[in-house]
């Protein structure tokens, strides 16, 4: 069933992948570029790959990563070093082989007749938004990006956004670049001054929650990409559930992108480290 070309039908596959580039972007943040022709061809913005981070049995579980961009046969991943698995990844060099399951998850939904979209990225929350920004620009949608990070060094994916967005606004916690403070101060001002058809947000869950509330007040549709600990990644194990108005949903198979109005934030937890 997992035959050659299955990826073409949009079905996920297990694909052997090779590291092309593993670049340290900032303290604890890396960009991994994988040669993964079938996943790259099938991927849509907002989907993810479930990556094997070690041969053998320890660490045992795969790690889920949003697809940041695809370029030809290559898939790019932005990752933050948080635990054993990502520490191992940070040591990979070009030529390293592993495998990935993908593309997985639902991805962002782009409604008909979108003219102006707001993308909100907090730190490595920029990960699932790179390919979306490019895709929207290709469709002729005007893209505004609100990009936040603790410091200017950690404003990851800035080049990608600046190459396709009409406008990129920046906030840093320490004021080393752009506005001092959280990205949610930017989004408050942006939502008050311009008309957006849709907002796409990813970052710490507290950020996503504030952006969701701001969008609800402004009457702008909002989608959020949520992070959860995952085991299977394909919808079977029920590890990664998100509380929603229509019951428990699986971040891996029913998400990771959710309509922000559907999410019951109080019953959701801040994603723990892995």
């Amino acid at each position: 069933m997992c035959s050659e070309g299955a990826g073409l039908l949009g079905k996920p596959i297990v694909e052997p992948v090779t590291v092309v580039r593993n670049e340290r972007l900032a303290e604890g943040v890396g960009l991994l570029e994988l040669e993964s022709p079938r996943i790259a061809r099938a991927a849509r913005p907002g989907q993810f790959v479930h990556l094997r981070v070690a041969a053998g049995i320890d660490p045992l579980l795969r790690r889920p990563f949003s697809i940041h961009r695809v370029s030809g046969a290559h898939t790019e991943i932005l990752y933050q070093v948080l635990g054993k698995g990502t520490r191992l990844m940070s040591e990979w060099e070009a030529g390293e082989s592993t495998d990935a399951i993908g593309p997985l998850g639902t991805g962002w939904h782009v409604p008909d007749r979108v003219e102006h979209a707001l993308l909100v990225a907090g730190g490595v929350g920029a990960a699932p938004l790179g390919m979306l920004a490019e895709d929207l620009a290709d469709r002729g949608v005007a893209v505004t990006v609100a990009l936040g990070a603790p410091t200017s060094e950690r404003l990851v994916a800035r080049d990608t956004f600046e190459s396709v967005a009409r406008r990129v606004e920046i906030a840093t916690d320490d004021g080393s670049e752009g506005r001092t403070g959280y990205v949610t101060a930017l989004t408050e001002a942006l939502l008050a001054s311009s008309a957006y058809d849709v907002t796409y947000a990813c970052g710490p869950e507290v950020m996503a929650r504030v952006v969701a509330a701001q969008c609800a007040s402004a009457g702008v549709a909002c989608q959020v990409s949520l992070e959860r600990l995952m085991a299977c990644g394909v919808g079977a194990c029920l590890s990664c559930v998100v509380s929603t108005r229509s019951g428990l949903k699986r971040a891996c198979a029913d998400g990771p992108v959710f309509d922000a109005e559907e999410v019951l934030w109080d019953e959701s937890e801040i994603p723990p480290k892995h």
Binding site: M1, C2, L60, R228, A236, L238, V241, P272
Partner: protein, 315 residues
Amino acid sequence: MSPAPDMRVAIGALELRNPVMTASGTFASGREYADFVDLERLGAVVTKGVSLDPWQGNASPRIAETPAGMLNSIGLQNPGVEAFISRDLEWLAGIDVPVIVNVSGHSVAEYAAVVRRLEEDGRADAYEINISCPNVDEGGMAFGQECAPAASVISACREQTGRTLIAKLSPNVTDIVEIAHAVAGAGADAVSLINTLLGMAIDIDAFKPCLARGVGGLSGPAIKPVALRMVWEVSSAVDVPVIGMGGISNAEDAVEFLLAGASAVAIGTANFADPQTTVKVVDGISEFCRSRGIDRVAALTGALDDSAIAPRETR
């Protein structure tokens, strides 16, 4: 070159094309894995546990990774038997694979009611009675930790069905052989073991348990030696077939369980690391037999040469 071995095995009245099943709770009802695995190559699909009414399961985080293993406290989240029949059994009916439905309950009456409803439907091939889930407050493992309650759940289910009835046993007991005797005496056609080992992990930065529930069930390669020992003990002492599971990641692991006395094996946590583990284990067992001139996989069951084991020290 030797011919391909006969891979068929029997669990009670249930005949399987090979001894490799899925472990309940790790494979849903198979649909999520159908992109990766030809389900018709499996010995059986063992479904996620199903209860009478929908269960919400536990709060998150529900998993924590541990050395060569993982803890889970999913808590038997399931949509209840009616939704299970209309969605899962309906879908599985289109696949040529034996279906073993894992049954959960908060009470003896609930276990029996789930089996009764599934019997009305008639599409399950066998039942695995989960008296060993460590993640629910009422029922679950509480039934599987003492002989009398374990036997009453199995008796109540036995009254509802003539199909193959499997009791899934908990390793969180002093003497698993005693429980195996009790369920066999109550009418179980087979036993499956082990369910997860109760465990814990702590986040030292937060001073909190990693799991919202505090404790959960340990699975994965880390538990394999414990599972293997228990399969050996139970199969040596009890007359019913044993389905062995606990940390099986590859064909070599599976062969160890067969030699220890298992008639079949189940793959659980390994599906998460490699979704194609089940079929790789089928092929690997077949190749193991072929390369050694073993013509029937069933010949491996209990073939361990334990004649030279030194007597255990007694006090």
